[in-house]
Amino acid sequence: MLKLFEKETLALESLSDEQTALDVKNLSVRLNDSLVLDNISMRIPKNKITAMIGQSGCGKSTLLSSFNRMNELHQHYAYSGEVIMDGRNIYSKKENVAKLRTQVGMVFQRPNPFPMSIYENVCFGLRIQGQSERRELDEIVEQSLRHAALWDEVKDRLFESALLLSGGQQQRLVIARALALKPEVLLLDEPTSALDPLTTLHIEELVSQLKHNCTVIIVTHNMQQAARVSDYSAFLHQGQLIEYSDSDSLFTMPEKKQTEDYITGRYG
C-alpha cells in the first residue's frame, strides 16, 4: 500500500490515560428505536489520526456524533454507556454541551460555510464565546487559516463572502473555523466525499498535519484514504466495532473475516 505520510504507532492495548483522548465505554445508541450503535468500546489515542471505515449505514456518523453529543439533535434518541474525556464522562448531567462542542470540533461531509465573510466564519465560534477584541481575533483568524493551509489563498479577501470560495477552499475554511476554537479533538465526517480527487489530496495532506494540534477522527469510506492518512483504523459493521488496530496491520493483515471481505471489496 502507498505510504505518503510518516507514522509511528503505539499499541492500542497499552495506552495510558494520558495518551488517550477519548475512552468509549459500552456505548449503545438507538435512533427511532433501532439500535444503531451496539455496545462500542474503544480508546482513541491522543494526537493521532483515527479512521472509521465501514459500509454506509453502519453507524460511523452516529459514532462520530456521539463524541460531541450532536446526536441529541435527533428527535428520538436514546443512549447508554460512557465517553470519558480528560477524566470526565461527557454524558454526565453536569456537562456543558455547548462548551463540549468547542472542545470537540466537527466538520461535515458537505462544506457548510455560513453566508458571511471568510473572516466572520472563522470568528463565529469565538464570538459566541464572547471574544470580541479585534487584535486577538485577527491573530486567531490568521493562525487558524494557516493551520488549515488556506491563509495564502484568502489573505487578500478576508472580508469577501465565504460562499465565493471553491468547494475545497470552503472545506478548509470550515476546518479553520473549527480550529479557531483550539479543540482537543477534531471530528471529520467524510470531509472529502463531495470533492474532486486533487482537492481531496490537498485536504488529506492538511489532515495529516492537523494531528500536531489535536486528535483527529476521520470517517471515510475510501479505504485508500484511510490507509494513507490514519494511524489507527476502526472497522464498523451494522453498529458493531468489528476490528480496531493500527492502520498498517488492519489493512495488511486483518484479523477478522468481515474486515478482510470489506477491504478487499467483497461487499460494501
Binding site: 460531541n68 450532536m70 439533535l73 428527535q75 455547548a98 462548551k99 462542542r101 468547542t102 470540533g105 466537527m106 461535515f108 458537505r110 457548510n112 460555510p113 455560513f114 453566508p115 463565529f124 465560534g125 459566541i128 464565546q129 463572502s161 460562499l163 465565493l164 470550515v174 473555523r177 473549527a178 476554537l181
Partner: protein, 530 residues
C-alpha cells in the same frame, strides 16, 4: 322506461363524441389553455392599471372648456348656454353629448334639443381658495379706487389685498385678542361695569374693532367681475381667489406645469369641498403612520410565533392544528377582524385602560373609542398569519447543514437561531411584513370600525406632547376612496379625485412591493448564493 332509454342514447352520444388525443396534442391543448388564461389574466391586470391611470391622471391634467348652446323646441328651460369642463377634445365631447341626450330622450328625436359646441378661448378657470372652481369670461377688476379693464393689473391688486389682509390680521392678533383677554380678566375679577379701567379697555376695543371692520370692507371692495356663458355677470372676491388661467390657451409646457403644481397640492394639502378637491395629505399621512405602527407590532410577534412553531414546537398533532388555524386565519373576512377589534380592543381593552389611567376624563373616553392604535393593532392581528406563514417559509429555507455547523461550534439553540437562522430567514420575514403592509394599506372595512374616519380635524402627529397621539382618529386612503366612491357618484370631478386617490394607493402598494423585492433580493444575495 323512456328515461332509461334516453340515458343510454346520451351515453352513446358522449362516447361517439369523445375525441381521442395523442400525447402531443394533449400537451398542445394544455399549453394553449395555460397560455390563454395567463393572457386573460395579464389583460385584466393591465386594463385595471391603465384605467386607473387614465382616470387618475385626468384629474391633474387641465381640462378643456366648451361652451354648449342648447336650443330646445319643447322645453324653454332647457334652452341656454353653459360652460363645461371636459378632458376630451371637441369631437369626442360632441359625440359623448349626443350619446347622453339619446339615452336621456330614449331616441325620441323630435323632443331632443339641438346643441352647438364651441371652444371659447377667452374663458378663465378661477380656482378659489376653498377648493371651488368657476368658469367665466373676464370683464373688469373692481378696486377701492376704481375699475380696470386690464387683467394684467390683477397681480398688483392681489398684492394690495395681501397687504390689507396682513394689516387686518395683525390688528386681530395683536390688539383685539389681547384686549378681549384683558376684558375677560376684568370680568373674572368682578370689576364693575363702569370702572375706569374697564371703560378704557372697552374704548380701545371699539377703536380697533372699527379699524378692523373698515379694513374688511376695504378688502371686500376688491373683486373680479366675470360673465358666465349666458352673459350674466358675477363677481369673485380677490381675497378668495387662488389662481386663474385660460384653460383653452395653455401650451403643453403650461399644462405640465399646471399638472405638477396640482399633483403637489394633491399630496400636500387637506381635502376641500367635502373631499371633491384639494389634497389627500391627511389620508396619505394616516395610512403611512397606521401601517408603520402595524408593521412595528406585527413583525416581532409574527416572527416569534413562526420561530416557536418551526424551531421549538414539538412535531405533533397540536402543532399541525395550530399551523392549520394560522393559515385559515388569513381567510377570515376582514370585517370580522374589525368587529373583533371594536368589541375587544376598543370597548374592552380601551375601556379598561380608561377606567384605570384616565378615570378623571370619564365619561368622555380617551382610549375607549376607535383610534389609531386600535386600528394598527387590529390590522396587525389581521396580517399576522401572512407574516407567520412567510417567516416559516423563510425558516424552512435555512439549510440543515448550517444549523449543524452552528451547533458544532458551540452555539446554543437560541444563539443558533439568532446568529445563523434568522439572518438567512430575514428575506422571508421581510416579504411577510411587506405583504402585510400592502394589505393594510388597501383595507377598508375593519378600519372604518376601529378608527379611520372620512375627515379628521387634526393629524395624529403634532407639536403637542406626546407628539404621537395614538388615541386619535385618523384618515386613511382606502376609506377616503370608499367614501368618495359612495358620495360623489354623480359628480364627475369628485370621482376623478377618487381615481387620483386610487392611483396614489396603487402607487404606494406598487412602490412597497418593489421595495420588498429589492430588499429581499439583496438579503438573499447576501445570505444564500452570490
Amino acid at each position: 322506461m323512456a328515461k332509461a332509454n334516453k340515458k343510454a342514447t346520451d351515453k352513446e352520444m358522449r362516447k361517439s363524441k369523445k375525441v381521442i388525443l395523442n400525447a402531443q396534442q394533449k400537451q398542445a391543448v394544455s399549453s394553449f389553455t395555460a397560455g390563454l388564461s395567463a393572457a386573460i389574466l395579464l389583460i385584466a391586470l393591465i386594463s385595471l392599471v391603465v384605467f386607473i391611470m387614465i382616470k387618475g391622471t385626468a384629474y391633474f391634467w387641465p381640462a378643456n372648456v366648451f361652451k354648449v348652446t342648447t336650443i330646445s323646441a319643447t322645453s324653454p328651460s332647457d334652452t341656454g348656454q353653459v360652460f363645461v369642463k371636459s378632458s376630451v377634445d371637441q369631437a369626442e365631447f360632441i359625440s359623448a353629448l349626443e350619446n347622453r341626450l339619446e339615452t336621456q330622450f330614449s331616441g325620441n328625436k323630435a323632443s331632443m334639443p339641438e346643441f352647438e359646441v364651441e371652444q371659447p378661448t377667452k374663458v378663465y378657470q378661477i380656482n378659489l381658495l376653498n377648493g371651488d372652481e368657476k368658469l367665466g369670461v373676464f370683464s373688469r377688476l373692481h378696486t377701492q379706487s376704481g375699475q380696470y379693464e386690464d387683467i394684467q393689473r390683477l397681480a398688483k391688486i392681489k398684492a394690495e389685498v395681501n397687504l390689507l389682509q396682513a394689516d387686518l390680521r395683525s390688528i386681530q392678533d395683536e390688539q383685539l385678542t389681547v384686549l378681549h383677554r384683558k376684558i375677560a380678566n376684568l370680568d373674572q375679577k368682578n370689576v364693575e361695569q363702569g370702572a375706569p379701567a374697564r371703560l378704557h379697555e372697552l374704548e380701545l376695543f371699539d377703536y380697533w374693532q372699527s379699524r378692523a371692520d373698515e379694513l374688511s370692507s376695504q378688502i371686500e371692495q376688491y373683486s373680479i367681475e366675470f360673465t358666465d356663458a349666458m352673459g350674466n355677470p358675477f363677481r369673485v372676491a380677490v381675497k378668495n381667489t387662488d389662481t386663474l388661467f385660460l384653460p383653452n390657451q395653455l401650451s403643453l409646457g403650461d399644462k405640465f406645469a399646471y399638472s405638477a403644481s396640482k399633483i403637489f397640492a394633491f399630496v400636500s394639502e387637506s381635502p376641500k369641498q367635502a373631499s371633491t378637491s384639494g389634497g389627500v395629505f391627511p389620508a396619505l399621512f394616516g395610512t403611512v403612520l397606521m401601517v408603520l405602527i402595524m408593521a412595528i407590532i406585527v413583525a416581532p410577534f409574527g416572527a416569534m410565533a413562526a420561530i416557536y412553531l418551526h424551531e421549538y414546537a414539538p412535531n405533533n398533532k397540536l402543532t399541525s392544528i395550530i399551523r392549520i388555524c394560522v393559515s385559515n386565519m388569513a381567510g377570515v373576512p376582514s370585517v370580522v377582524y374589525g368587529v373583533f377589534g371594536l368589541g375587544f380592543f376598543v370597548y374592552f381593552l380601551g375601556g379598561s385602560i380608561d377606567s384605570i389611567f384616565f378615570s378623571e376624563a370619564l365619561p368622555s373616553p380617551t382610549f375607549g373609542t376607535p383610534g389609531l392604535f386600535w386600528a394598527a393593532l387590529t390590522m396587525a392581528l389581521l396580517t399576522l398569519p401572512v407574516v407567520i406563514v412567510s417567516t416559516e417559509e423563510g425558516l424552512r429555507r435555512v439549510p440543515e447543514g448550517l444549523r449543524a455547523g452552528s451547533y458544532a461550534l458551540g452555539a446554543t439553540k437560541i444563539e443558533t437561531i439568532l446568529k445563523t437562522v434568522l439572518p438567512i430567514a430575514s428575506p422571508g420575514i421581510m416579504t411577510g411584513v411587506i405583504l402585510a403592509v400592502a394589505r393594510a394599506a388597501g383595507e377598508v372595512a375593519p378600519l372604518i370600525l376601529v378608527g379611520a374616519v372620512k375627515f379628521a380635524p387634526s393629524l395624529p402627529v403634532d407639536s403637542d406632547f406626546p407628539f404621537l397621539h395614538l388615541e386619535r382618529q385618523f384618515m386613511h386612503l382606502g376609506v377616503f376612496i370608499y367614501d368618495g366612491a359612495f358620495h360623489n357618484q354623480t359628480n364627475t370631478q369628485g370621482s376623478s379625485m377618487m381615481f387620483a386617490s386610487c392611483m396614489l394607493l396603487l402607487l404606494i402598494v406598487f412602490v412597497l412591493n418593489l421595495f420588498a423585492i429589492i430588499v429581499r433580493k439583496r438579503l438573499r444575495d447576501r445570505f444564500l448564493r452570490l
